[in-house]
């Protein structure tokens, strides 16, 4: 069922409260190698508005242990589909104010299409399979964020490959 992480893919997965530094993560991925041709990164941030309400902050809850397992499984699947040289996934938990970073996915490959595909694939499955939950601080109180149908729809294209 579950595939192993491809031997050529250097993987770093972390779930933590602290913010991340994109330059530092990029430098760590590139350190000592000159064979990377393409790096695609995705950062998800706290928006000040969601579903019609103004948001001051949100609190991210997760399921410790399962989160890391789920992320590892998603990254392994991506590493089996495309020739990825490196993958870094950092997801923050705890209280995050508007404009704060939530998640970083960084994917390196020799060629751009593998980097783009790997990064999008990981984000798409992270959105539906990794056990994180957002609770928003709105003007009218706390509100759990509803899962979006479009996130489930987004997965369908990966079945065609």
């Amino acid at each position: 069922m579950s595939v192993p992480i491809a031997p050529q893919t250097v993987v770093r997965i972390e779930v933590r409260e602290a913010d991340f530094d994109l330059n530092a993560e990029l430098a760590a991925m590139q350190r000592g190698r000159t064979d990377i041709g393409a790096v695609c990164s995705f950062i998800g941030l706290v928006r000040d508005v969601n579903a019609g309400s103004s948001i001051d902050a949100l609190t991210l809850e997760h399921y410790p242990g399962m989160t890391e397992k789920a992320l590892t499984k998603i990254v392994a699947e991506a590493s089996a589909r495309w020739p990825l040289q490196g993958v870094t996934v950092i997801h923050r938990v705890g209280k995050l104010v508007a404009a704060a970073n939530i998640v970083l996915v960084l994917v390196a490959s020799a060629h751009r299409q593998a980097a783009f595909n790997g990064c999008e694939f990981i984000m798409d499955f992270l959105k539906t399979d990794a056990p994180f939950w957002k609770q928003e601080n709105t003007e009218t109180g706390l509100r759990w964020v509803d899962a979006r149908e479009s996130d489930t729809v987004a997965l369908q294209r990966w079945n065609q490959n």
Partner: protein, 85 residues
């Protein structure tokens, strides 16, 4: 003995985040039987775990279904659809 966890809105609905169930494995062979036992406790559990509600279940940190077998020592978690990223 098994550990049951509840997360996010489902945790708030049932009022606890974690409990140990002391039971004979034979009486709870699968996820469906555990759900039946939990829902019989009170209306909070009955409603939170109603079949019409859109919840998820994991056994030992892997996504599971009603039919998934459970054993003594397992960790079973109930939670709403995920919303990270």
């Amino acid at each position: 003995m098994m550990t049951v966890l509840y997360f996010a809105s489902l945790r708030e609905a049932v009022g606890i985040s974690r409990e140990q169930l002391d039971c004979h494995a034979s009486s709870l062979p699968d996820v469906a039987s555990l759900i039946a036992q939990l829902r019989a406790r009170n209306t909070s559990f009955a409603e939170a775990l109603a079949p019409t509600k859109n919840w998820r279940v994991a056994v030992n940190q892997e996504m599971a279904t009603h039919q998934t077998a459970i054993h003594s020592g397992d960790e079973i978690a109930f939670f709403p659809p995920v919303t990270g990223g």
